[in-house]
Symmetry: C2
């Protein structure tokens, strides 16, 4: 079977799907809530350099759809207002560009806007200056904005997704859908090369779009070690679940062999190398952090955790999976996956997501 | 019955509706095709004043969804390229902001973009500079863009829609859903006042957003005479069709009395007065034109014209109608409407849509 993946299918599930991203993005919410203080610091720093300014232009790249967007926009507004209050300056106009692929559910975001503005108005009294929220469809691996028009860019939980499955892979990554311990060297090399190409293109596009001194705050999945596979990758477990389906006759070995996710988790050294070689940005900060796949602070969560986490992964990857394997297989796959996750999580040291938080300043 | 109208229902039918706007906007297409040379002239004039510029920012207000959008964007690109070719200048980056209410089907537009860019690339060879297309959800009767960020604004087939049904109307416009010969004086006054408020707010918002010297090209429905009713209004005929349904027991007189469309067709004098009183714009051009409801150049069109035209009106107004009267009544209404249109069009002097084309320059 051919790998039918195109970036058209690299969108999260829309609001009308059974397992929608909007209702299954709690892990991402946990991550974003942790991030807000850092986002606040970065925004205040970038904005303070620009004072006084009449407009502050911010882009959220890979925004997806769902309530997390509004957590972030609220933080943007609060941060700017905070600086102005402290410095006794007039609040500028803020424009937030929400970007994702053309297949993203922008309608759902836009329809939530009137309610969001209403809540904002109630929280702030009469708004001093209007805030403008617009949608920018397109891939962030290419140009999205005119030259030197942005002050600040952020991207959360996206940059581990590649622009495409590396074309060299074909069916050489047998029994896997991403890099695992059993992936051969050429597979690892092809993935690493695609990440280098994509991340360079991302940096180069943003370097044209940001004003000098503009800042980027990026969070995405990575790995601790030099080993090219992640120690604890939930997508590897999804691949195992697909292999389990072969014995049930729901798919074939050839189908699984030919399917690969456009996914790469870099290590620190690789990131530094690409950023330096592209040359437009200085690294302000690069931090590694871990977050549990499922919250460990409630006794009953572990019982539910397989299903809970399976839904989170399904909301993100269903479009890719079902396009390749069909809806019936996808339903069974995510049942199987929930059980496998459950099993995996019984070992309490397992189930950690590794993230890089990278802050870059345009030279 | 209460008039349940809010601007949430002032969106055209999305792609998944039986009678979608995308498939039933041929009248609008006819109008836009006629308009393209004028749009070309206006764009060339505005752009020439700015040369050389690195970015040209254009807004399409009330873009709706469907193929007409791409006719307009292509004209924008062609006009700018034309000027640059003539003057042997580098083509600037062009950014087109597509605006409509949050309920508009932006997903359908965004999903058509990759195909549009592909066709553009084939037509132009390698594009000299990228063109950026973004979505701006919100009402054009308020602010949509930061101060002094736009070069050119156009709005086609929208400004006759008010921001709301005038609150004074209640159920005083008996047997009508818009202004007709039988509307009492207070109804006419309330509509005219709402138009004045809305059109002033439109001008004032745009005057803040446009750069000095920036231009607007507006096309919307109006009327020839001083009489406050349009001589040939297809919405009046829709009201008559609703009244016909009363005798069928599908709706009541009270229902019809309480329902009014947020629609006003101004005359020349009113427009001049509002523009002058608002004060930010100079009138470059104000032209009145007529277009047939249905094309008269084919023999078989007349036979189909009732259904054909009913679908066009349905694609634009179904959301408002069905929210008030329910889906079953709406289905029957548009069947009845098709027959009434058919009847109306038998008199070949009837069935003309009157449009104003207004070109304004920011002082």
């Amino acid at each position: 079977m051919e790998n039918k993946f195109t970036s058209d299918f690299l969108s999260t599930n829309s609001g009308d799907k059974e397992i929608s991203y909007a209702n299954n993005s709690l892990l991402q919410k946990t991550i974003i809530l942790k991030l807000l203080p850092t986002l606040n610091d970065a925004l205040r720093e970038t904005f303070s350099k620009r004072l006084p300014t009449s407009t502050f232009e911010v882009a959220d790249l890979g925004c997806s759809s769902g309530p997390n967007i509004f957590l972030i926009i609220s933080q943007v507004i609060d941060s700017i207002h905070g600086v102005c209050q402290q410095a006794q300056l007039k609040v500028p106009q803020i424009r937030v560009f929400l970007n994702d692929l053309p297949g993203n559910d922008f309608n759902a975001i836009f329809q939530s806007l009137p309610g969001f503005f209403e809540r904002l108005k109630q929280a702030q009294g009469k708004m001093v200056e209007p805030c403008f929220i617009v949608g920018v469809p397109g891939s962030f691996y290419g140009r999205l904005f005119p030259t030197r028009t942005l002050h600040f860019v952020h991207s959360f939980n996206c940059l581990h997704w590649l622009s495409k499955v590396p074309p060299e892979l074909k069916d050489t990554n047998k029994g896997n859908i991403c890099i695992t311990k059993s992936s051969p060297a050429n597979v690892i090399k092809a993935y690493a090369k695609q990440f280098e190409t994509d991340f360079s293109a991302f940096l180069s596009s943003r370097s044209q779009e940001l004003m000098p001194g503009g800042q980027m705050l990026l969070l995405f999945q990575g790995r601790h070690s030099q080993n090219p596979w992640s120690e604890d990758c939930f997508f590897a477990l999804l691949g195992q679940s697909l292999v389990d389906l072969v014995s049930e006759g729901l798919t074939t070995e050839a189908d699984v062999d030919s399917f690969n996710l456009p996914l790469y988790k870099p290590c620190k050294g690789e990131l530094y190398e690409i950023i330096e070689s592209e040359g437009s940005f200085g690294v302000e900060k690069m931090e590694i952090s871990e977050v549990d796949w499922v919250p460990r602070d409630q006794d009953d969560v572990e019982f539910l955790s397989g299903q809970y986490f399976s839904n989170i992964v399904r909301a993100v990857s269903e479009q890719m999976i079902s396009h390749q394997f069909g809806d019936a297989t996808t339903n069974r796959l995510f049942m199987m996956y929930a059980a496998n996750i459950e099993e995996h999580l019984r070992d309490r040291n397992k189930g950690k997501l590794v993230n890089f938080l990278v802050s870059l300043t345009k030279k």
